[in-house]
């Protein structure tokens, strides 16, 4: 299944990419016909499109070779990914887990104080989180924490301090949706008959909330966790450029602008593969947490 999905993603990307007018060799400076021909030959652009497609696909799926970048001379796409994936992944993981932890806490907090001040506060925060685009939030955070308060660096990459602001801007939207999901899920579980059973057993309020309510309420939230990963990765392109982080995002954006075919392809397939992997891990985790899901 995963391989089929990847193949379809790669094919769609290939078709779309070639449907865009222009080609990677187009430059402002005029190029002599000979140089152009040589370059086309080097990158295989003179071959028919179908042949380009089969060569590329077989290289990718059989040898795990994404080819060489058109724009960054002689730099293999595999190397770009290897060198720049870590910052992106660190950021993504921090943002996701921060979002999960704070989102769930906020949702639980809101649900337990339903219609009270904490609930209103949490839900206003959640609506803001969902509606403010991450790039706007990034500038706000930079302004407040870096310029006004001066406690965190404006940008850059290196230590833990540098990761906080970008992770916050990236994770906010996920945290907000998690909080809303968790809240409604908690309120739904409260209505369940087994909550009444738990109360009839004479358990204390805290025991009921921890052992029966949160445990069941967190399941539907977990289901959304995997797909939300996609949101994080697409958001990270912008965030990385705002904070000057040497992640993969900038390569993606530049590659699309410059029609750097191999880099676009490589990164798209890589990201799809990674997302599929995360969703798979998420599903496996879900089966561990929810006894009703059986591993087939």
């Amino acid at each position: 299944m995963a391989v089929v999905t990847l193949y379809l993603v790669a094919t769609a990307t290939f078709i779309l990419m070639h449907a865009v007018p222009g080609n990677p060799l187009q430059q402002e400076k005029a190029m002599s016909a000979v140089i152009r021909q040589n370059l086309e030959e080097k990158y295989g652009l003179n071959k028919p499109l179908l042949q380009q497609y089969t060569t590329y696909m077989s290289n990718m799926f059989l040898k795990a070779d994404f080819g060489i970048s058109f724009k960054q001379v002689n730099r293999p796409v595999n190397k770009i990914i290897a060198e720049h994936f870590m910052p992106s992944a660190t950021l993504g993981v921090m943002a996701l887990f921060g979002a999960l932890v704070f989102g769930v806490i906020l949702g639980v907090f809101a649900a337990l104080n339903r219609n009270g001040i904490p609930d209103m506060f949490a839900m206003v925060l959640a609506v803001l989180g969902v509606s403010i685009p991450s790039f706007c939030l990034a500038y706000f955070l930079q302004h407040i924490f870096a310029l006004q308060l001066g406690i965190l660096p404006v940008g850059g990459w290196g230590g833990f301090a540098e990761t906080l602001l970008p992770a916050m801007s990236l994770g906010m939207i996920v945290m907000a949706s998690m909080a809303r999901l968790m809240r409604s899920s908690m309120l739904e579980v409260v209505q369940q008959d087994y909550m009444k059973t738990a109360k009839a057993k004479g358990l204390s309020r805290l025991q009921i909330i921890l052992k029966h309510q949160i445990r069941n309420a967190v399941l539907p939230v977990m289901i959304y966790f995997g797909p939300l990963f996609a949101t994080i990765t697409t958001g990270s392109f912008v965030i990385e450029s705002i904070f000057g982080i040497p992640g993969l995002g900038q390569f993606f954006v530049n590659a699309v602008n410059e029609l750097d075919y191999t880099v676009i392809m490589g990164l798209t397939v890589f990201y799809s593969g990674f997302t599929i992997l995360i969703i798979l891990v998420n599903d496996l985790l879900l089966a561990v947490v929810d006894p009703r899901i059986r591993l087939a």
Binding site: Y194, T197, G202
Partner: protein, 342 residues
């Protein structure tokens, strides 16, 4: 005469809704004696579940509110207990089982853990001792291969087995009273029989009292000692099973009895029913709640609510009564005959 272990007096509960206050329970009084099975019968929405959930403190307040009454378990009033006191009573002295065993068990917790949770809470046992006790309980409610099934989850059990688990949870600490809220409604008839049989057997083994809520007169007749018939938030008639079925003393009870299909009457083509529907509990009628549906209603029935009238000639028993004006000394005898011996 034995002393009752639970004395409920004049209990009234209402719920705040957008449409106004629903008076779900309007002055209910009853006693529960040691070692008996008391059935509370009535149609949907008559307040039988609310009454007993109030005793367990399971009614969410708000919107629910107990407006009057007391419920003495021994010498303590359940309705005036603090939350901590109530927690120590629930599951320990009062056990409860619910209608739908499918939804009443936590789907993500093994059944064994759900049973031992009660034991650990109330008896301060170690997990190991609780495990042993849980297995014994599962054997008591006749679950085969109890050790193996301890770690299984509710979805791996059949409906009847789940209800057995619920019973095990309710009986874990040997409660004085077991409240069974329609325990067999969600089960099919053969399983229903087994569960009732089990309940009855355990009741005499542990010597606890059972309050059985049901709308199934067949269930009432087969297991209970005494019956209270509820209508529109009040107990309209109370008596022993024999009295309720043999000589019903309230037109509503008589109506319920004649609505039971008779398999021997072959020429009967239309099933009997009581025409009309229960009154609006937002603003209950000033007179008898059943008057508008009653074939023998008199003028007085619409004007004032009848008090419970004792039907026991010796007046020693408070639990044989009917809330009906037909039992007043001035009521026309002919009308009474017609209403109750149809």
């Amino acid at each position: 005469m034995k002393e009752p272990i639970l004395k409920v007096r004049d209990l009234a509960v209402e719920f705040a809704t957008y449409g106004g206050h629903v008076k779900a329970v309007r002055g209910v009084s009853f006693d529960v004696f040691p070692g008996e099975i008391l059935s509370i019968v009535g149609e949907s929405g008559c307040g039988k579940s609310v009454t007993l959930q109030t005793l367990m403190g399971l009614i969410p307040c708000p919107p629910g509110r107990v407006t009057s009454g007391s419920a003495f378990l021994g010498d303590r009033d359940l309705l005036k207990m603090s939350r901590q006191e109530m927690e120590s009573v629930r599951g320990k002295e009062l056990g409860m089982i619910f209608q739908d065993p499918l939804t009443s068990l936590n789907p993500t917790m093994s059944v064994g853990a759900q049973i031992s949770e009660v034991i650990i809470k109330h008896e301060n046992l170690s997990h190991k001792a609780a495990f042993k006790k849980t297995v014994d309980l599962m054997k008591l409610v006749q679950i085969p291969e109890a050790e193996k099934r301890w770690g299984q989850f509710p979805h791996e059990f059949s409906g009847g087995m789940r209800q057995r688990i619920m019973i095990a949870i309710a009986l874990a600490c040997r409660p004085k009273i077991l409240i069974a809220d329609e325990p067999t409604t969600a089960l099919d008839v053969t399983i229903q029989g087994q569960i009732l049989e089990l309940l009855k057997q355990l009741q005499s083994e542990i010597n606890m009292s059972v309050i059985l809520i049901t709308h199934d007169l067949g269930v009432v007749a087969s297991v209970s000692d005494r019956v209270a018939v509820m209508y529109a938030g009040q107990i309209v008639e109370s008596g022993s099973v024999k009295e309720i079925f043999g000589s019903p003393a309230h037109p509503y009870t008589a109506g319920l009895k004649s609505a039971i299909p008779n398999p021997l009457k072959t020429h009967q083509t239309v099933l009997e029913s009581i025409p009309g529907s229960p009154p609006d509990l937002f603003s209950p009628p000033t007179g008898c709640a059943f008057a508008v549906r009653c074939k023998s209603a008199m003028k007085v029935c619409l004007q004032s609510d009848p008090p419970p009238m004792s039907l026991d000639k010796t007046s020693l028993r408070a639990d044989r009564f009917s809330k009906c004006w037909l039992h007043h000394q001035y009521a026309p005898l002919a009308l009474k005959e017609k209403a109750l011996h149809a």
